[in-house]
C-alpha cells in the first residue's frame, strides 16, 4: 500500500484520526447551538445534561444489564426530555425576561446541581477506570479501515453518522417546520409570539425537551471516549465545543459541525507534525507539550476578542419587555441610617462573639475550617469587586487565586523569600495579569466576558501550570508544591491561632479597600456604567479605566486570598483549590448569597467551608441539643446537597440580582414601610399596592 507512507499519508491519517474527537466536539457544539437558537440560553449546563443521560445509560445497560435499546430509550428519550421540561417549567420560564448574563449564571448553577441531584437520587457513584459502553454492540472492538491508513471503531463511526444525520434533521426542522420558526420567534419575544396566537410556553417546552434530548444523545455517544464517567469531563467538553459553536456565530448548525470537526483535525495535525518541527527547531519544545491541549481555548479566546461581529450578532432585545415592572431598588438605598447602624453593630457583635469562641475554644479541625472560611471570604471579595460592583461575570477568579498560590510557592519555596513578602508580590503580579487581560475581555461585555474568562481559566489549567516557572515542573512532581508558614518578629504563624488572626486582619483590610473603592470615584463610575454604558459615556464617563482598575484589584484580591489559602494549607493544592470548576462554584456561592456586599462574601466564605460540617453533618443540632447522640437520624446529609442548594441558589440571583441576603433585607424593609403606612394616623392609601413576591405573576405569559 503506497498510501501508508510519506507526508501525504501522515496528513491524511492525522485528518482521519482527528475525525472522531472532532465529531464529539461537533455533537456538543450542535447541541449547544440548538439550545441557544431555541431557548436563547447560553447553556453551560449542557454538559451536565449530557452527563446525566450518559450515567443513566451506564446504570441501565452496564449495572442493571438492560439491553441497548431499552437503556437508550430510558436515558435519552425519557429522562433527557423530562429534565428539559423540568428545567423549562421550574427555572427558565421565570427567567424569560432576565438578562442573558443572569441566565448564564443560572446554567452554571444547574451544571453543578444537576449531576449531584441525579447521583443522589439514583445512588450513582461515578465510574473510574472503566470505559462506558457505546450504543452499538461491541462498538469499541470492531474496526473498519476505509482508506487503509486509520481504522475507525464501530462506536466512532456511529457517532459520526449520528452527528451528520442530526445536523441534517435539525436544519430541516428549522427550515421547513412551523415549530422551528416558532421556537426562533419565542427566543426573541415570547409576548410578541403570543400576539400571533401562538402558545409561547408550549413552544418553549418543546424547545427544552428537544435540546435536552439532544444533550442526552450526545452524552451517551460521547461517554465511550472517556475511561471514566464524571461530570467535570463533560463540562470541559462543553467549553471546547463553545469554541466550535462560536465559529458558526452560535446560530449556524452546519458551521458548528464544521467547527467541531475542524478543531478535532487541527489538534490531530498538530499532534502529528509538531514533534517533527520540534526536532529541527528545539526552541519549540515547550510549545509542543502545551499547545495541543490549549488549542480550543486559544481559538475561543481569539475568536471572541478578534472577531467583533460575533458579539454584535448577540441577542436583539424583546420589544415588549416594557410590559414588565421595573426591578426593585437595593435595600441599602432605602434603609434608614439608624437601622443601618443597628444592623452593623449586631453583625460585628455576632462575628466578634463567634471569633472569640473559635479563638479560645475551637479544636484544631474547627480552627482549620474557620480560618479557611475567612480566607475564602477574602477571595470572594474579589467577586464582590468584579461582579457586584462592575457587574461583570468573571469565571477565572480561581486562576488569579492560583497565581497567588503559585507566586508564593515560587518566590518563597524556590527562591527563599519570606511568604509575607511573597504574597503581596504575587498579588501585584496577578493585578498586572488582570489588567492586561481586562483590556480585551471587559470590552466584550455580558456573557462574552464570562466566556472569555472561562477560556482563560481553561488555558491556564491546560498550559500555564505545566511551565516550571509557574507550577514548578518536575520539582513539584517530586516534592509537591509546598509552601511554608511565615514568622514575623514574635509571632510564629505556624501556630493555627496566630494564623487565624492574620487571616482575619487581611480580610478586614481587604474589606475596607473594597468599601473605599465602592464609595469612591471608581465605584460611582462603575455603578453608572452598570446602569447604562452608552448613557454613561455620553456624559463623559470613561468606562475603560474604571473597569481595568476593578479587574486588576479583583485579581489582586483573589491572588492575595489564594496565597493565604496556600500558606494555610502549606501547599498550593491547585487541583482541589483553584481548578476552573472551583471558580464556577465560587461564583455560584457568592451570587446566590449576595455579590454586592461584604456580608455576602463573608457568608459565602462560611458556606464554602463550614456549611458542610456544621449543617449537613448535623453538628449544630448536636450543640443545640447538647449531645452529639441526639442528632436526628437524617444526619449526616450528603455533602452533595451543598452543590445542589447553592447551585439552585443562582435562581434567586437571576430574579433578584442583589442576592439572597439583600433580597431578604429589602423585603423586611418594605414590609416595615408598609406597616408604617397603614398605621393609624397616616391617611389610608386606597390603592395600597399588593406586595407581590413575583411581580411577573400579574403578567400573563
Amino acid at each position: 500500500m503506497t498510501l501508508a507512507t510519506g507526508v501525504g499519508a501522515d496528513f491524511l491519517r492525522a485528518l482521519l484520526q482527528g475525525t472522531p474527537p472532532g465529531t464529539v466536539y461537533a455533537l456538543v457544539a450542535l447541541g449547544f447551538v440548538l439550545t441557544y437558537k431555541t431557548s436563547g440560553v447560553f447553556n453551560l449546563a449542557f454538559g451536565a445534561q449530557a452527563y446525566v443521560s450518559a450515567a443513566m445509560y451506564y446504570k441501565a445497560h452496564t449495572e442493571w444489564g438492560w439491553s441497548i435499546i431499552p437503556a437508550l430509550v430510558l436515558s435519552v428519550f425519557v429522562l433527557a426530555p423530562a429534565i428539559g421540561l423540568t428545567l423549562e417549567r421550574l427555572v427558565f420560564r421565570y427567567l424569560r425576561t432576565g438578562t442573558s448574563v443572569a441566565k448564564l449564571v443560572v446554567t452554571i448553577g444547574i451544571s453543578l446541581a444537576l449531576p449531584n441531584i441525579f447521583e443522589l437520587i439514583t445512588n450513582f457513584k461515578g465510574v473510574v477506570g472503566r470505559t462506558p459502553a457505546g450504543i452499538v454492540p461491541n462498538g469499541a472492538g470492531v474496526f473498519y479501515d476505509p482508506f487503509g491508513v486509520y481504522p475507525f471503531s464501530r462506536d466512532e463511526l456511529t457517532t459520526i453518522g449520528v452527528a451528520v444525520f442530526a445536523m441534517l434533521c435539525l436544519a430541516a426542522l428549522f427550515r421547513f417546520s412551523a415549530i422551528g420558526l416558532q421556537m426562533r420567534a419565542v427566543v426573541e419575544s415570547p409576548r410578541m409570539t403570543e400576539l400571533n396566537g401562538i402558545r409561547s410556553d408550549r413552544v418553549s417546552a418543546v424547545s427544552w425537551a428537544l435540546s435536552s434530548t439532544f444533550a442526552g444523545l450526545a452524552g451517551v455517544l460521547i461517554a465511550p471516549r472517556f475511561n471514566t464517567l464524571a461530570a467535570p469531563d463533560f463540562f470541559n467538553l462543553v467549553v471546547v465545543a463553545i469554541a466550535a459553536a462560536i465559529l458558526g456565530r452560535l446560530v449556524s448548525l452546519p458551521r458548528a459541525l464544521a467547527g467541531g470537526l475542524g478543531l478535532g483535525m487541527v489538534i490531530s495535525l498538530l499532534g502529528t507534525f509538531l514533534p517533527r518541527w520540534v526536532q529541527s527547531n528545539p526552541w519549540l519544545r515547550p510549545f509542543q507539550e502545551n499547545l495541543t491541549p490549549a488549542v480550543p481555548f486559544v481559538v475561543l479566546f481569539g475568536v471572541l476578542v478578534l472577531w467583533p461581529a460575533i458579539r454584535r450578532s448577540r441577542e436583539v432585545s424583546d420589544p415588549l419587555s416594557g410590559v414588565d415592572p421595573p426591578i426593585s431598588s437595593l435595600a441599602l438605598a432605602t434603609r434608614s441610617a439608624r437601622s443601618h447602624l443597628i444592623a452593623r453593630v449586631v453583625t460585628v457583635g455576632a462575628l466578634g462573639t463567634v471569633a472569640a469562641i473559635v479563638y479560645f475554644r475551637a479544636d484544631a479541625s474547627w480552627m482549620f475550617l474557620v480560618t479557611q472560611a475567612v480566607i475564602m471570604a477574602t477571595i470572594y471579595l474579589s467577586v464582590t469587586m468584579i461582579t457586584g460592583l462592575a457587574g461583570q461575570i468573571s469565571l477565572c477568579q480561581g486562576t488569579f487565586a492560583a497565581i497567588g498560590g503559585f507566586g508564593v510557592y515560587q518566590l518563597a519555596t524556590l527562591h527563599g523569600m519570606s511568604v509575607l513578602v511573597a504574597a503581596p508580590i504575587a498579588a501585584v503580579i496577578a493585578a498586572a495579569v488582570g489588567a492586561v487581560l481586562s483590556l480585551p475581555v471587559l470590552r466584550l461585555g455580558g456573557i462574552w466576558t464570562a466566556v472569555a474568562t472561562l477560556a482563560f481559566a481553561f488555558f491556564f489549567d491546560a498550559v500555564a501550570i505545566k511551565f516550571s516557572w509557574v507550577g514548578g515542573g518536575n520539582t513539584s512532581l517530586m516534592q509537591g508544591t509546598r509552601v511554608p508558614r511565615p514568622v514575623l518578629g514574635p509571632w510564629d504563624f505556624a501556630d493555627d491561632r496566630a494564623f487565624l488572626v492574620l487571616a482575619v486582619v487581611v480580610f478586614i483590610i481587604v474589606s475596607i479597600v473594597v468599601v473605599q473603592i465602592r464609595g469612591g470615584t471608581i465605584g460611582r463610575t462603575l455603578r453608572a456604567i452598570r446602569g447604562s454604558e452608552v448613557a454613561a459615556q455620553s456624559i463623559g464617563i470613561s468606562p475603560a479605566r474604571a473597569r481595568v482598575v476593578a479587574f486588576a484589584v479583583s485579581a489582586a484580591i483573589a491572588a492575595l486570598g489564594g496565597a493565604l489559602l496556600s500558606i494555610h494549607q502549606k501547599n498550593v493544592n491547585y487541583g482541589s483549590n483553584f481548578s476552573p470548576v472551583s471558580s464556577l462554584f465560587w461564583l455560584v456561592l457568592v451570587v446566590s448569597l449576595g455579590s454586592r456586599t461584604i456580608e455576602g462574601a463573608a457568608l459565602a466564605g462560611a458556606a464554602y467551608s463550614i456549611f458542610d460540617p456544621l449543617i449537613l453533618r448535623g453538628t449544630i443540632f448536636g450543640w443545640i441539643l447538647r449531645s452529639p447522640d441526639r442528632v436526628p437520624g437524617i444526619f449526616p446529609i450528603s455533602p452533595k446537597w451543598r452543590l445542589i442548594l447553592f447551585g439552585l441558589g443562582t435562581l434567586q440571583f437571576a430574579r433578584h440580582p442583589e442576592g439572597a441576603v439583600e433580597y431578604w433585607r429589602s423585603r423586611t424593609a418594605r414590609s416595615l414601610a408598609a406597616r408604617q403606612r397603614s398605621a393609624p394616623g397616616t391617611p389610608e392609601a386606597p390603592d395600597a399596592p399588593n406586595e407581590s413576591d413575583a411581580p411577573n405573576g400579574a403578567v400573563t405569559s
Partner: protein
C-alpha cells in the same frame, strides 16, 4: 348587540405602580375608536390590557361577551384581537417572509399560508422585494408596513394599534392610515392609540380621552377635536372637572 371588546371598570399597573384606575371602554364590531391623551396617561397600558399582555388588577376584559380577564395573550389573538404594539412590532431576527409566515401559519392554517403570503406581497410589493431580508434591517417605516401587511391579510375582528405614526415620515404615516382605513372598510374594528390626533380623528367614529389613568371624556370623534385642543395640549396637567383626576394620582410604593 354584544360589544366586540369591553373593558369594564378596569384597573391595571406594573408591580406596585398603578397606571389605570377604573377605565371602561367599549368597541362595537366594525367601529373605530381613538384613544387620545398626553404622554404617560396610560394609553399603552390600556392597549396592553385590551390584548391580554397585561392582566387587569380589577375589573373585567370581555371579548365578544366572554370574560377573558387574566387569560393568556395567545387566546386574545385567537379570538381575533390583533395588537400592533408601540415601537418595534416585528421580529427583528426573522426574515420578512418568516414574520408573515409565523403569523399566517397560525391564523390561516398550513394550507392557506402560501396564498396569504402571495396576497401580502401583492399588496405590498416593497415587501416582496425584501422577502428574505432580516426584518431588523428594515427601516422603521418598512417595519410598520410589514406589520400592516400582516393585519390586512389576516383581517382580525379588532386591531389595537398603538402609536403607529410615531417617528415615521409624513408620507409613511399617510400610507399607514390608508391601510387602516382599508382594514376598517373590510369590517375590522379599530382601537387606535395616538398622540397625533389629526389622522386618528379623521378615521375614527368615536374618541376617548384619557387623563392620568381615567377616562376624562368620551364622545363622537367630531366633537373630540376641540376638546383635545384645549384639554390635552394646553392644560393637560390641570384637572378641568369632568375627570376625577384628583383621586387618580398614581400611587407608588417603595
Amino acid at each position: 348587540m354584544t360589544a366586540l371588546l369591553e373593558l369594564r371598570n378596569v384597573s391595571a399597573g406594573y408591580g406596585a405602580f398603578r397606571a389605570l384606575f377604573g377605565v371602561s371602554v367599549e368597541v362595537q364590531p366594525g367601529e373605530a375608536v381613538a384613544i387620545l391623551g398626553a404622554n404617560g396617561v396610560g394609553k399603552t397600558t390600556l392597549a396592553r390590557v385590551a390584548t391580554g399582555l397585561l392582566a387587569p388588577t380589577s375589573g373585567a376584559v370581555l371579548v365578544d361577551g366572554a370574560d377573558m380577564s387574566g387569560t393568556a395573550t395567545y387566546r386574545f389573538a385567537r379570538a381575533g384581537v390583533a395588537h400592533a404594539p408601540e415601537g418595534r412590532s416585528v421580529f427583528a431576527t426573522l426574515s420578512v417572509e418568516d414574520n408573515l409566515r409565523l403569523s399566517f401559519r397560525q391564523s390561516k392554517g398550513r394550507a392557506n399560508t402560501p396564498a396569504a403570503l402571495a396576497k401580502a406581497f401583492e399588496l405590498f410589493p416593497m415587501l416582496a422585494a425584501r422577502r428574505h431580508q432580516i426584518a431588523g434591517t428594515l427601516s422603521g417605516g418598512q417595519q410598520r408596513m410589514l406589520a400592516m401587511a400582516r393585519v390586512i391579510v389576516e383581517e382580525p375582528s379588532l386591531l389595537v394599534a398603538d402609536e403607529l405614526s410615531l417617528g415615521l415620515a409624513p408620507i409613511v404615516v399617510d400610507e399607514v392610515y390608508r391601510s387602516l382605513r382599508r382594514l376598517k372598510e373590510n369590517g375590522s374594528a379599530l382601537l387606535i392609540v395616538e398622540q397625533h390626533v389629526g389622522h386618528a380623528l379623521a378615521l375614527c367614529d368615536r374618541a376617548i380621552l384619557l387623563d392620568r389613568g381615567t377616562v376624562s371624556w368620551s364622545g363622537p370623534a367630531r366633537e373630540a377635536a376641540e376638546r383635545v385642543a384645549t384639554h390635552v395640549f394646553e392644560n393637560d396637567s390641570s384637572s378641568d372637572g369632568d375627570g376625577d383626576s384628583g383621586d387618580a394620582t398614581a400611587a407608588t410604593a417603595g
